[in-house]
Every structure is written in structure tokens, then in C-alpha cells.
């Protein structure tokens, strides 16, 4: 029995050491202001799928091992929660497309992340941390048919600083990228041809 406890302890300690030397988890955390834009006279349901809610990006080192696990799903939801009520007359947040149909809205907005890229100074030899994100913005009818489907990219960078950790710099660059997304989304939404056409019918 004692031998078993000792062996388990040894395995756990070894595992702990391996975990300690493994991937760095970076949970993106920032605050996002409400945009100062004119509200569009439509009611929108906002639906976040599981892929967006749990979005995480893994950055690998040059030797192929997992280096950074960047979790940005929650911050994306926080961002869309802040900007959509400022853009549309009525906004309801739903957990499923069925719920959206029952909410009696004009359309359903369902954002998705297609690609996430991270550039670290150690690899690029530049004095900046950079984050680039590609989104697929989808505007659907309550029945689930496409009204518009467009690509939006966002970019954020932050300079290297002596007393700032890599985790903090990645977070800062990601927050700048999220703010960039919020600004381009809120300012360009009405200019997307399919959205423009749909808005004119509302």
C-alpha cells in the first residue's frame, strides 16, 4: 500500500514538473468601450457558437512544442456584448438558432473566427508583438438562411518593453486587435453590399 502511495506521489511530482515546463496559458483580458455610432433601426439576435465561446489558439515553438495557448473566446464575447447594443435598436443574446427564431428578430448575427496568428519578437526580430485575426461575419434570417457573409480582419501590435512579460505583451496586442475589430465592424457593417441591400428593405 505504502509502495503504491509512494509510486503515485512520484508520478504526480514528475507530471507536475512536466506541466510546469509546458505550455503557457494566456487568457485575453481587456475592457472594451461602447462605440459612438448611430443605431440602426433593426432588431438583431446575437448567437455565439461553441467554437467562438471556447476559441483558443496554440502557438508552437521552433522545435515544434506547444509554447502559448491563447484563450480569447470569452474576450470576444465580452467585445460583441459591448458593441452590438450600441449598433442596433434592439439586441437579444440567444443560445440557439431556435431561440433566435422565437425572439421575433429581424436577423441573427453569428460571428466566427477563421484564423488567428501571433508574431513574437523572438521569431520576427522586430521590436513588436503582433496579433492578426480573420473573422467570418454571418448575418442570417431567423430561419437560418444567409443574408450576408463577409470576411473581416483585425490587427493589433504592442512594442517590447523591458519590464513586461511576454504573456502581458500578447494580451495587450490581442486587446488592440479586438478594439480594431470593434472599430472596423461598427463602422463598416452598413457598407457591406448585402447588408446595405437588406437594411434598405427593413
Amino acid at each position: 500500500m505504502n509502495k503504491l502511495i509512494k509510486q503515485s506521489g512520484l508520478i504526480l511530482t514528475t507530471l507536475g514538473l512536466f506541466v510546469g515546463c509546458g505550455v503557457n496559458n494566456v487568457v485575453i483580458d481587456g475592457s472594451f468601450p461602447t462605440p459612438n455610432v448611430s443605431k440602426m433601426p433593426v432588431s438583431i439576435a446575437v448567437y455565439y457558437d461553441d467554437a467562438l465561446r471556447e476559441f483558443a489558439y496554440l502557438e508552437y515553438s521552433e522545435t515544434g512544442s506547444e509554447e502559448y495557448n491563447i484563450q480569447s473566446g470569452a474576450s470576444h464575447i465580452q467585445l460583441f456584448d459591448a458593441i452590438t447594443p450600441a449598433m442596433f435598436d434592439r439586441v437579444v443574446f440567444v443560445d440557439s438558432m431556435e431561440e433566435a427564431q422565437a425572439a421575433g428578430v429581424d436577423a441573427v448575427f453569428a460571428p466566427a473566427i477563421e484564423e488567428f496568428q501571433l508574431a513574437l519578437p523572438a521569431k520576427t526580430k522586430l521590436d513588436v508583438f503582433e496579433v492578426w485575426i480573420k473573422y467570418n461575419m454571418r448575418l442570417l434570417t431567423p430561419e437560418g438562411e444567409y443574408i450576408a457573409d463577409w470576411v473581416l480582419t483585425s490587427y493589433g501590435k504592442t512594442p517590447t518593453e523591458t519590464f513586461r512579460s511576454v504573456d502581458a505583451a500578447i494580451n495587450d496586442a490581442a486587446v488592440v486587435a479586438l478594439r480594431d475589430l470593434a472599430s472596423s465592424f461598427s463602422l463598416s457593417f452598413g457598407d457591406v453590399p448585402e447588408v446595405k441591400e437588406w437594411l434598405s428593405t427593413q
Binding site: 461602447t34 459612438n36 455610432v37 513588436v128 501590435k157 512594442p159 488592440v176 478594439r179
Partner: protein, 224 residues
């Protein structure tokens, strides 16, 4: 202590002091180009913003804050709106990708009711756009440190040069015109001699660029 030892100690001290004074020296040049009349009342304010459009560098927010803080102090102090507070309140109009690059863009932006209202709420009379960075070059020398049973110590010498170059463009929100540009260029050599203990003799290049730029901006905005 014999008189010979005392003289040797004194000369070493003097040598170190001269070295420190020389090391702390930076040369700063300020150029001003005025394109319009300026002046500000106590109800009006200035916002100092950093340009962040360049791909390979961005104006550090600490430098922008330093310029603003210095303009808000001393004689003829000016009311300064903090950069982050202004950018957040104006969101999304002053983000790196959406900020106006020319005064014509500002004119277009001011036609947005919400932007004009916020600008009025803050009482902004001038927007100062600061653009630039500090570059370190000419790193030479080496320092090695050792730890042993008898103690620890470093030996060697390092030196480098810092060069700060910042442009400040002043936009008059009333006339929607660029009323002037101030350029500050500061450079200085830093030294790091190590004889048991490393003694950093750092040239305060960016701090000097900040203080000279802020003083000149304050004078400029006040109409001096």
C-alpha cells in the same frame, strides 16, 4: 590615511564625477514650424495623442503621457485630457486604423454629430499628434559577472547610444487646420562601467526629448 592616498582617492572621485556628468549629457535640438496663430483660454483643453499607424514601430504611450503631464504643470499650465480617456470616449473614431491622418479627415469626422458633441464636452481646442521613437545603436563592450565562495563581482565596460526623434503636429479643432509642427531630436551616450559593482551612467535621452518638446508645445499653444 596618508596625503598621497588621500590625493589618489580624490582624483579617482573627481574622475568618476566628471565621467558621470559627461555621461548624463544629451544633446537636444528642437525645431518649430508655425503655420497659424494660436492661443488658448482656461476653459479649453489640449489632447496629446500618439500615432500608431507605422508597421515597424509605434509611439509609446508613456512618452505621450510624459509630454501631457509636463504641459499640465508649471507656469502657463494647460488643461490636458488624458490620451486613453479621450480615445475610449471617442471610440471607435481615434483607433490606429480609423484616426484622422490629415486635417481634411478631421473636418469629415467633425461632421459626425456624436464626435463634435464629445469634442465639445471635453473642450478640446488643440489635438497634438506625437509621432516617433527612440532607437538604441552602437552597443559595444562586455561585462562578465562571477559568483564564488568569497563573494561576487562584475568586471567590464559597456556603452550604447540612444537617439530619440519625435514630431508633434498641432491641429486647431476650431479652424480645422494644422497650425504648426515641432520636431525634437535628442541623442546621448550611456556607459556601464563595472568594477566589482556595475555603475550605470544612463543618458536620459527620451526624458530630455519629452521635457523639451512639452515646454515648446506649451509655449506654442499659448501663442508665444
Amino acid at each position: 590615511m596618508t596625503s598621497l592616498h588621500f590625493l589618489s582617492f580624490l582624483s579617482r572621485g573627481l574622475g568618476l564625477m566628471t565621467f558621470a556628468v559627461m555621461a548624463s549629457c544629451t544633446s537636444t535640438t528642437v525645431d518649430e514650424f508655425r503655420q497659424g496663430e494660436t492661443g488658448i483660454t482656461s476653459e479649453e483643453a489640449v489632447v496629446v495623442l500618439g500615432r500608431r499607424q507605422a508597421s515597424d514601430y509605434e509611439t509609446r504611450s508613456e512618452f505621450v503621457e510624459c509630454v501631457g503631464d509636463r504641459m499640465a504643470r508649471g507656469d502657463n499650465a494647460i488643461r490636458i485630457v488624458p490620451e486613453q480617456e479621450f480615445v475610449d470616449a471617442m471610440f471607435p473614431w481615434f483607433e490606429p486604423r480609423t484616426a484622422p491622418l490629415r486635417t481634411q479627415d478631421l473636418e469629415k469626422l467633425m461632421s459626425e454629430e456624436v464626435v463634435a458633441d464629445k469634442m465639445g464636452d471635453f473642450g478640446i481646442r488643440y489635438i497634438v499628434w506625437v509621432d516617433g521613437f527612440t532607437e538604441t545603436s552602437g552597443r559595444t563592450g562586455s561585462i562578465s559577472c562571477t559568483v564564488g565562495p568569497g563573494g561576487a563581482g562584475c568586471f567590464g565596460f559597456g556603452t550604447w547610444e540612444d537617439d530619440s526623434n519625435f514630431d508633434a503636429r498641432i491641429w486647431d479643432v476650431g479652424s480645422l487646420k494644422n497650425v504648426g509642427t515641432i520636431n525634437t531630436d535628442a541623442s546621448g551616450q550611456s556607459y556601464l562601467p563595472a568594477l566589482v559593482i556595475p555603475i550605470p551612467l544612463i543618458a536620459r535621452v527620451e526624458a530630455n526629448a519629452c521635457s523639451r518638446l512639452a515646454d515648446q508645445l506649451k509655449e506654442f499653444v499659448n501663442g508665444g
